[in-house]
């Protein structure tokens, strides 16, 4: 906190203080102010130009052009007409798209909640004390480095009607529980969520481990001496100390959760009968599989706005309130 405040003050007073900051060598009135410039000002501004142009040209121009097509009926080839908000009207009148929007939010918030809860629990368990903690950290983090597609295909095999899960149930005498898990309209979306949480928990664990490393041991010990229980120490000492880690883990999780694509395509391809479609898979399906590029672009624009709004709300919710006080 102190460091941040000092840094801000130094930054705010930058220009005015510069002559004084040059020390003994700046006592001469001819001393060049450039000596005090930070390293980033060392070169010329146009060194950033190629990068800026690439970002503007590849990222923002392409996104803007895609946004333009959201207001057209372009099929992906040939000519098109400007149709205003017709695509958006159609989206909100189509129950399948509304369901996809609901699935998007369910997968995003469900995965954020579960990965962070499990990730924090793992981080707390593997933070100190346990002798095998380093090996266990590797084990729990390993799914993160695997390809989401590869992981999803493995789980698809597990969930298959003739796969290991149903065979295990049969071996345990639970034949009545056997079912095509990924083709059950009531269970498929939860199966997808389970696979996502299984793979993403490791990244949340690593973020929280980094956050827990900054928790002062002496404060925890002082709280313990004062008679605080484990739960009280967790709420009063640990959670405030790892607030930045919570902000990072939830922001990354939410943004990634809103644009989940690979896992759905590999596990269910949006089925059964659209039960696991989300906005990202609908964008792909409409724009590229069904040749309705304008409609797909409208869905993509909606998804972009949704991610933007959710990220802003999440940033607001997890802001450092100590600064406000």
């Amino acid at each position: 906190m102190t460091v941040t405040t000092q840094g801000r003050r130094a930054s705010e007073g930058g220009r005015a203080q510069r002559p004084q900051n040059t020390g003994g060598r700046s006592s001469s009135p001819r001393a060049r102010p450039s000596r005090a410039r930070p390293l980033v000002g060392y070169g010329r501004w146009w060194w950033a130009l190629p990068g800026l142009l690439l970002v503007l040209g590849i990222q923002y121009t392409a996104t803007s052009v895609g946004g333009f097509f959201a207001f057209t009926n372009w099929s992906g080839i040939g000519s098109f007409e400007w149709i205003g908000l017709e695509n958006f009207r159609e989206i909100f009148q189509d129950p399948e798209k509304v369901r996809a929007l609901g699935n998007t939010l369910l997968l995003a918030f469900g995965s954020v909640l579960l990965t962070n809860v499990f990730g924090l629990m793992l981080a707390l368990a593997l933070n100190r004390g346990l002798r095998t903690r380093y090996a266990l950290r590797v084990v729990f983090f390993m799914p993160v480095v695997l390809s989401p597609l590869a992981v999803s295909y493995v789980w698809k095999f597990i969930f298959d009607f003739n796969g290991p899960l149903n065979q295990l149930l049969a071996a345990g005498g639970l034949q009545e529980l056997q079912r095509p898990w990924l083709a059950d309209p009531n269970l498929a979306i939860w199966a997808v969520l389970g696979v996502i949480v299984w793979q993403q928990t490791g990244i949340a664990m690593v973020i929280y481990l980094a956050g827990l490393a900054a928790v002062p041991v002496e404060i925890e010990e002082a709280a313990a001496i004062d008679g605080a229980s484990h739960w009280q120490r967790f709420l009063a000492v640990t959670v405030p100390s790892i607030r930045p880690a919570i902000a990072i883990a939830t922001t990354l999780g939410l943004v990634n959760g809103l644009r989940i694509f690979d896992q759905i395509m590999a596990l269910t391809a949006g089925g059964p009968a659209g039960a696991t479609e989300n906005l990202a898979t609908e964008v792909y399906k409409e724009a590229f599989s069904l040749g309705r590029f304008g409609y797909g672009a409208a869905l993509a624009l909606l998804l972009t706005v949704l991610i933007l709004v959710c990220a802003m709300l999440q940033q607001y919710a997890t802001r450092d309130r100590s600064k406000e006080s």
Binding site: S34, R35, Y42, G43, R44, W47, P50, S75, G76, I77, G78, D160, F161, N162, R179, P180, W181, L182, A183, D184, P185, T268, A269, G271, P272, A273, G274, A275, K285, F288, S289, L290, G291, R292
Partner: protein
Amino acid sequence: MTQHRRSFSRYGWALAVPTVGALLLTTACSGESSESVDGANGFSLTYATSNNLESPYERLARVYMEENPDVSIELAPQPNDRYGETLRTQLQAGNAPDVVQTAPGTGQAQGIVPLAEAGFLEPLDDAAAELIPAGNESLFYTEDELYGQPVDLTVSGFVYNTSAADAAGLDEFPDATAELLDLCETLANDGTSAIALAGAAPPNTGMTAMSVSATRVYAETPDWNQQRADGAVTFADSEGWQETLETIVELNETGCFQDGAEGGGFDAITNGLAQGTSLGAFIPSGAASELQSAAPDQNFAIEAFPPPEGGDPYILASSNYSLSINAASERKEAAQEFLDWVAEPEQAQLFADISGVLPVTGVADVDLSDTRYAPVGELIQSESYTALPNSTWPNQSVYDELSTGVQGLLTGQSTVDQVLTAMDDAWEN
């Protein structure tokens, strides 16, 4: 400091030059692919492929180059599941190969009609016109110009494992749906399914519905699609289409499909038919030869799905693949000469031999009695068949509603009326 900054600038330019060079090189590499084809008679050819077996297009190109040593053909195979989107992107970008594999009609991303209407295809000459099956002109022509040359005659029927049927003690394939339903019950008790269904794969659920519709809709009203386009009929009001989907529901409830069929993929079909745990599946006839390669000890035949009581047998058979010339090609003459050569009967037979389909020309004179097409030989030679229904549907969404709707029927998410109404809505869009 000044000296340091100067040297920094110098090194910076030294870095910038190769960077710009690399960018220019990248740009050059992404240019028109046909520019890399050697010689004035060379051209490039792209086609879809889904396995590592030799593609019929590859064989045709190889034989053509052997017969014409001055011609070099650059082959550009692409994954089957993304072929349509990739081709559209290439055509839009102006870097598509000179000769491209297309699909007749409008129902797919690589459909001839939408690509021709967008100006991406070059009109073809008369050699191709002679190959167009009678009544299928609308799948290949736009505004009196021909844009696609068919290369096959594919039967979309019921691929039947006769070896597994013999092992199950079945002498004959059922003549009517009621007989098939009885057979399903008998087989289910023995742990075998009459039909392997990839319920989670929309191409298979859609193909299943269309194959059943041949006897329920198109046998009586071959021009049903035209009537739908004219607004005279709708899916929701069609007794034939209602009966089609109700038949699928009945097949499911009777146990005709394998356990867990609603979640099955194409592996359920290949494994089921190759191992004999399922007797048949709704897949294109060309797939039978691939199954034969995978299971040499099994024998496969192409059957017509049994009609309802008192109905006539009828099948789907049409050219599913075609070749077209890229309108932006700079080697149209060489490409057209290749297509003229492909149109000759010898090449049609060569394509059929490799891909397991029927030759696009002269099938009426071919003796099918000793082939796996024997059960449908009479139907083919009496022309009791129609093209794939979705090839003349106005957009891909209609077929998407059908294929996902069938899965919804299997899982209980949809009703027959809901599926048909959704197809009508998609047609109007």
